[in-house]
Symmetry: C2
Subunit: 480 residues, 2 copies
């Protein structure tokens, strides 16, 4: 497929050059000392008093030489490994919401490690999801186990790639230790590092933080894949201009990409963004707005300019329930990003922006992701597919209903939805007038009432629990 | 903007050639005698016994020479004239549903001429709609006024272009007479023919009907613009193959396009389709399926190959209420079609495929159409838009919230939705937990409770009613 484009190659080049001008003349405020040191070592000018780092253009251009075009998400089960852009669209849950819509009460509450276990099981079962980015925080986590209380239930119940972040290096080391334990040894883990790391080290405008930057440096030094998302918010942390926000965000991406390449040339990376425009009527974080999709499209064009996989948080909704808004915000922005060439879609399961996980939304997002994958497939060209013989055989005025060809191909041509209803109204009226939400809740119940085939073996689980005393239970437990 | 593409130029050429093969070797069954005569006169082979018409490739290629790249929808008020593709996306209501969801009872019932008056008023007020294709039939129409009972309330309450079809030439002539009366004279009307004509003369597979074909010939001979929509349904009336359905539909488009060019070389036309894949589990008409969008994208690519404006019925939903499904089916398919280069979107107001008009859906579709128009605008490139001076002024770690630039540009950068909520959950919980549907119903009420500024003057109305005795009242009357 050829992708939709806003810019000519010359315009993309100018946006790149403007980003270089920003990095050269305005610079990046870097709060992490190690990062400042790395930047200085590689030719940047560092003001040790203010922490301001300025990038000569040739330094950035030098780093660009070692950008690589692929990024792999490794899974506990190798059949679920996913490579960007080969497996595009790679569909990921949106992550780290503090809350969940309780499936029993319908009310929002703090999420727990048991919720993570349930969600991990669900995502493992939903065919359109490629990566489980741990959807929620765990309010029941022991204070010294904040992060493994999330990764343990996730990994225990899901054999697809698991992705998330950690607040501290100590937490990150515990999570890696969990990985080693599951893999059997550190060496075995490093061969297939099935914990996938993501941070937001850049705080717009043009600032690099301490802790997330530290994690990115730590992982990159160890040869483990990690990438970051850039999140400018026009009107608050970036210019009230789509092009201005794109350009500043692009400069921020380049700064972070340079850090990775300075530490380890050829380190894989994703050009990941969640660029938004604030709703200045109220200051609301409008992550479901169409401008989020437009900015995602524009960044994707720049990612192609650099030949780096692209994507990010796209398909979020500001809706507080799975109403029409939740459908069209997620649907329009993801379709737009896909056709602009986006590879990675953190699109699944959240309501209220990034605030709360909802099971019905996850089921619907799976369905929308299946639809996106159909669009990606598009219309494949082949001589046989033209069906000239069949069209002749059936002839003008004939029927294709009983043709053998129809029977043979009906399952492969169209996606058969579970959430979208296609009843005529008369049938619908007598069969309970179900909405898409009703059907999605039913489907979540159906899946989560089964046994989880992906669950850790008793043996593996005993080994993990022996290694980490006081671990949360981490088992899926469905009572809706 | 550069559009997304499935096909290379060589593949598009092959699809074109395969369509020529279909028209040459298989042919078109033409039930309308005048059409057969026209085809014969221009070099086609006509079997007078069967009505089968075969097209030598050079005949089609000859007709192609006079295809024109623009199509104009004329409005009663010239400011609302819309030209394809210049004003893309041109957003149109979906039309001719038999039923309406009653705004008072919420139940489906037969639609009436008063409903048409209300809908016309609403569409006139909703900024994203460019053309009012009369959404419903009028169950209260006198038997001899089937069509003017629809066109009169539509034209009386809407100054945007009004579009629909008629079942017979007699009805068509009455509708044109209505146009002459409103314009003041036949001559005045012909200068600005604000009734816009659309038919479905091709019945898949490869058949041309009697009545709609007659209307197309009638209008084209008179120099009035008219176009048709091609509606193959894979698995029932076309091959269970996206490419096969595209190719056969493309042949059907060419046959109809040839008829127009044979009658009047240079007659404007739209490559309009509603190509679908049947849900073979039940035989359901899956007009909301993602395959409808994919086929629309593919046809759009062929339309560009012929340099003809493109579009059709895109954005329909199979949902029976404005739930999430209604949002993502409409949203995803329209976004996909837009980025493939679609110009015309018959997307507004219907539920259950083409069965019932719903006010809330029309309001939501207006909002989605506003979002599509933002995507169309995309990210405009300019040196000033890069905001380099502003980024320098605010600096790393600064805030854009109070910048004069933010104040000056906030209304032009982002679309401010009325249906999509952006409250935080705590606010949402205490302010009635409104869904998108609730807000859309409120907005319809707000608009339709006003006076209609577009309504005919008393003088004009008296003139029209004197000319057509026993006309329906045709006035908007809102009691929700």
């Amino acid at each position: 497929m050829e992708f939709a484009k806003f810019f000519t190659q010359a315009e993309a080049q100018r946006i790149h050059e403007a980003s270089l001008e920003i990095l050269e003349n305005i610079g990046l405020l870097v709060h992490n000392e190690k990062a400042r040191h790395i930047f200085a070592q590689h030719g940047c000018t560092v003001d040790t008093q203010t922490g301001l780092v300025k990038f000569p253009p040739q330094v950035v251009e030098q780093c660009r030489q070692s950008f690589v075009p692929k990024y792999t998400f490794t899974a506990r089960d190798p059949q679920f490994d996913r490579v960007l852009p080969d497996h595009r669209p790679v569909v990921v849950t949106a992550s780290s919401a503090p809350n969940i819509i309780d499936p029993k009460t319908g009310k929002e509450r703090r999420a727990t490690s048991t919720d993570i276990a349930n969600i991990a099981f669900l995502i493992n079962e939903l065919p359109a999801f490629d990566v489980f980015s741990i959807s929620v925080l765990a309010d029941d986590a022991p204070k010294d186990q904040i992060s493994i209380s999330r990764f343990y239930p996730a990994l225990k119940n899901c054999t697809k790639p698991v992705r998330s972040n950690t607040p501290t290096i100590r937490d990150l080391e515990m999570v890696l230790e969990l990985g080693y334990t599951i893999a059997g040894s550190k060496e075995a883990y490093l061969e297939r590092p099935f914990i996938n790391h993501h941070y937001c080290p850049v705080v717009s405008p043009l600032t690099m933080d301490v802790e997330s930057t530290e994690a990115v440096i730590y992982l990159t030094e160890k040869g483990l894949p990690v990438y970051g998302t850039i999140v400018p918010n026009a009107g608050l942390t970036s210019p009230m201009s789509l092009l201005g926000t794109l350009t500043m965000g692009n400069a921020e991406f380049l700064a972070l990409a340079c850090l990775l390449q300075m530490i380890r040339p050829g380190a894989p990376n994703i050009y990941a963004v969640l660029s938004t425009v604030a709703d200045m009527r109220t200051g609301a974080y409008a992550s479901g707005a169409i401008e989020t999709g437009i900015l995602q499209m524009a960044h994707t064009m720049m990612a192609r300019f650099y030949n780096i996989p692209s994507g990010g948080y796209i398909g979020l909704t500001n809706a507080q329930t799975t109403d029409a808004q939740s459908g069209y915000e997620t649907g329009m922005n993801t379709a737009a990003a896909l056709l602009a060439g986006g590879d990675l879609f953190n699109m699944g399961g959240l309501l209220g922006g990034l605030m709360a996980f909802d099971y019905a939304k996850a089921i619907m997002d799976n369905e929308m992701a299946m639809m996106l994958k159909q669009v990606k497939r598009g219309v494949e060209f082949s001589e046989e597919g033209l069906c000239l013989d069949l069209i002749k055989e059936i002839g003008p005025g004939g029927s294709y209903m009983d043709a053998l060809h129809t029977l043979e191909h009906m399952r492969e041509v169209a996606f058969f939805p579970k959430v979208a209803g296609r009843e005529m109204r008369a049938q619908w009226a007598v069969s309970g007038q179900l909405t898409a939400r009703d059907r999605a809740v039913e489907e979540a119940n159906r899946i989560l009432s089964k046994e989880n085939p992906a669950r850790f073996s008793a043996e593996l689980d005993a080994k993990v629990r022996a290694h980490f005393p006081n671990l949360v239970a981490g088992d899926a437990k469905w009572e809706a």
